[in-house]
Symmetry: C2
Subunit: 117 residues, 2 copies
């Protein structure tokens, strides 16, 4: 069922939003844990594919952000996927150190109590 | 390391974007497979928590979209997580049938060839 695209086809298939961005999910390639979600523009997506390391567009700092460039907590890509309508990317990555800037292994460390409905 | 929030705290922690939406990742609670990404507004997030079934805001149809309401391919939530800065949600779900409208088990069935860089 899965299809393989060339990198040019992959980038062409992306439906960037009005701000020129696409959400990119980083998932640990072994544990399957979802680590974080960041955004890429065409340039940082191409850098990610070319370098093999997750490179986001930082919306708050308005700059190219190679994940781990300061902390050393890089994300090497193992698999790059795009969804059916091209508006979300999913990267399976080899995460060095914690993914979250708080030091947590993943950014998703807070859960809702589902019993209190 | 993980924290549990009441549902009121959980909803209050969400940083909705300028359109009043937050991206919500659906991940299979057993396999760990990332199934899809949709968007929720405050109302559909509250419906999701209250009903226990993933309910998105359809940006294309501009309406409340209970996943599977037509196809039967519902997503019952098992865990609801929020990330460090509150701008992404992650739901671990029990997916009935395929997650993707194409009939694929997940919306992420296309991969880039990483060897052609």
């Amino acid at each position: 069922m899965s299809e393989t695209l060339t990198q040019i086809q992959f980038v062409s298939a992306v439906a960037f939003n009005a701000e020129g961005l696409v959400p990119a999910i980083a998932q640990h390639y072994q544990s399957g844990e979802v680590l974080m979600l960041g955004y890429m523009n065409r340039d940082t997506l191409e850098r990610t594919l070319q370098t093999g390391f997750m490179t986001y567009w930082s919306r708050s700092r308005k700059k190219v952000w190679k994940k781990g460039e300061e902390s050393g907590h890089t994300q090497r890509i193992v698999e790059a996927m795009i969804d059916c309508d091209g508006d979300t990317l999913l990267f399976k990555v080899d995460q060095i150190g914690p993914a979250c800037h708080t030091g947590a292994p993943t950014c998703f460390y807070r859960a809702a109590n589902l019993d209190d409905r």
